[in-house]
């Protein structure tokens, strides 16, 4: 999974762009944030068109997905009319887009099937919450462990500890999530009978009521993600340790411990935030597989099911939701970096 953490869009620093002009105006951070948000909106708009077009090319549509074998003739035409699927494509796109912007994801096809109205949001809000719980439960250990391992390995670069960490993190990271998940299930359920293999959440309950349900999915995500993340943290830390100011500090006789904490860690902060952002973005894709495997009732499983039955409306809306979260993570990460590393704001050395 090493490269599964994608490179994110380049952080555009205000400094990089305005080097020739004197800095003017207050709140450079705010202006930066606004500019990034504006760029993100443009990106999301372009994506929304692409996703909508891709989904309209998908064979079948939400109405035929509901009707299945009945999807023909009067029945299909009737349902399509009800769902607004017979309108021109541009109109459908516009209705969908304006709905999204207002937080209204439209009415679920399931509602039409039941003869009433069920909003898409009411259907996915619970699953979104479940996915958020799973993602957070995985995020925290991944970040903590990869920070520890990455910094630790960097500080002892070249020694046996470094190599040990390198090798032990390499193996699970090289496995696809479904393989690692299968091995874990085989171990913890098949052999040890310790943990449930399926994330069955009783009605009215939340995953937090039965935390043992979360263990295997979280372990799978952690196993796959920690290795690459730790290596990137290590690389960033090594860079920081070799920076000029650190060398200068050492030459000046400052104690190593203080050098590390005051200079190196600070410089390693920016790339580490990027790594944390990548972890969050990885989780979005990782959730798809893991939720499907363990039957965890989250948004990832919802998307895979929707794609399988060609419920295009659902696919559109959920894809855009995930894309918006993905883009949002980028922006937040860049803002955090900006805040933590003042020199990026001012462009000074």
């Amino acid at each position: 999974m090493t490269a599964a953490i994608q490179a994110t869009a380049e952080p555009e620093t205000p400094a990089a762009q305005d080097q020739s002009r004197p800095r003017r105006g207050r709140h450079p951070l705010l202006r930066y944030a606004l500019r990034r948000v504006a760029a993100a909106v443009v990106i999301l708009l372009v994506l929304s068109v692409l996703v909508f077009l891709a989904c309209s090319v998908l064979p079948g549509n939400a109405a035929s997905a509901i009707l299945g074998k009945q999807a023909s003739g009067v029945a299909l035409a009737h349902l399509e009319r009800e769902m607004g699927l017979n309108r021109p494509i541009a109109y459908q796109y516009w209705t969908w887009l304006t709905g999204l912007v207002h937080g209204n994801l439209g009415n679920s096809a399931a509602g039409y099937a039941a003869g009433g109205q069920i909003s898409v949001w009411s259907q996915i809000s619970g699953k979104l919450a479940n996915s958020a719980i799973l993602a957070t439960a995985a995020f925290v250990p991944i970040v903590a462990v990869s920070l520890m391992l990455g910094v630790g390995a960097a500080l002892r670069a070249g020694r046996w500890v470094d190599h040990l960490i390198s090798v032990t993190t390499l193996v699970p990271a090289a496995l696809p999530e479904f393989v690692l998940g299968a091995l874990l299930v085989g171990l913890f359920f098949g052999s040890l009978h310790l943990l449930p293999p399926v994330s069955l959440i009783p009605p009215g309950g939340s995953p937090l009521d039965t935390p043992s349900l979360l263990v295997l999915p979280v372990l799978t995500l952690v196993g796959v993600c920690v290795g690459p993340a730790a290596r990137m943290i290590r690389a960033g830390m090594l860079d920081a340790l070799e920076a000029d100011c650190v060398a200068v500090a050492r030459l000046n006789g400052i104690a190593e411990r203080r050098v590390v904490i005051r200079y190196a860690l600070r410089n390693a902060l920016a790339p580490s935030v990027q790594v944390v952002a990548m972890i969050a973005q990885y989780l979005i894709g990782g959730l798809l597989i893991v939720e499907y495997m363990f039957g965890y009732p989250g948004i990832g499983q919802q998307l895979v099911n929707a794609i399988s039955i060609h419920d295009n409306l659902e696919v559109q809306s959920v894809s855009m939701l995930l894309a918006a979260i993905y883009v949002g993570i980028n922006i937040v990460a860049d803002l955090v970096v900006m805040t933590l590393v003042p020199k990026l704001r001012t462009g000074g050395a």
Partner: protein
Amino acid sequence: MITGVAEDLDIKQRAKRRLALPPTLAGKIGLIMLAAVVLLALAGPELAPYSPRLTVGAPYAPSGGHFLLGTDVLGRDVLSRVLFGGRTVLIYAGLATILAYLAGLAFGLFAGYLRGWPDQALMRSVDVLLSFPALVFILLVSTAAGQGIIPVMVATAIIQAPAIARIVRTATLEQSVRGFVEAAVARGESAISVLRREILPNIARPLSADVGLRFTWSVLLIASVNFLGLGLQPPAADWGLMVSENWGGIGANPAAVLVPAALLGLLCVAINLLSDSLAGGRQWQ
């Protein structure tokens, strides 16, 4: 200026270094593992005792007896299918990676050399593509284009190309302001020629650092899509597909799932160890 000559020497030296054995023990182990897996994948079909698509026994017969690794969901010999199943992994992941590099190189060189608005246009498109979760993208594209492995492969290539394009673009930008390039331009060389002779060799190193990882990611992405049932279709023999189609029999004949899974893992681990070692950790920056 003699920089051109000096750079030439540099290139030759670098080429020699690239072909040398990996410096660390881990790297050497990785190389051996990789060679073993690739050999198995390529030569396997010659050694298979049975046809990979023929039912030869009862489903999920355990290993031993006639069938070294037992039989799979359809009573086919697992050993034979494993021996046949590496080719598709190498081919499709390999093709996807090559396509990604071709596209990334083309766009990155173009943008980095010309600069100006083509650069901006390209970089904004890259941003758009990078703003979408990879697996979701592949699922959407492959479903829109119809089920099968070709759309999955193309989608995998598309989703990796932007990152490569960005690296190439940055490297091209850096290189194109160097003296020898300006000299070549001043000599009247065409853009294509400059790109090919001056710039391309010098961006090879930043690119080659993560070839291995890209290939690994292609392997994993495609295997995951196959697992979800949206890529390669039965009755093809493919390690990733074998894991998902024999899932239900993991209790009856675990080898049918575990052996192809282990081979997939070995492949990826080997590549990681090797490329890690070749990139030298931190030594060659």
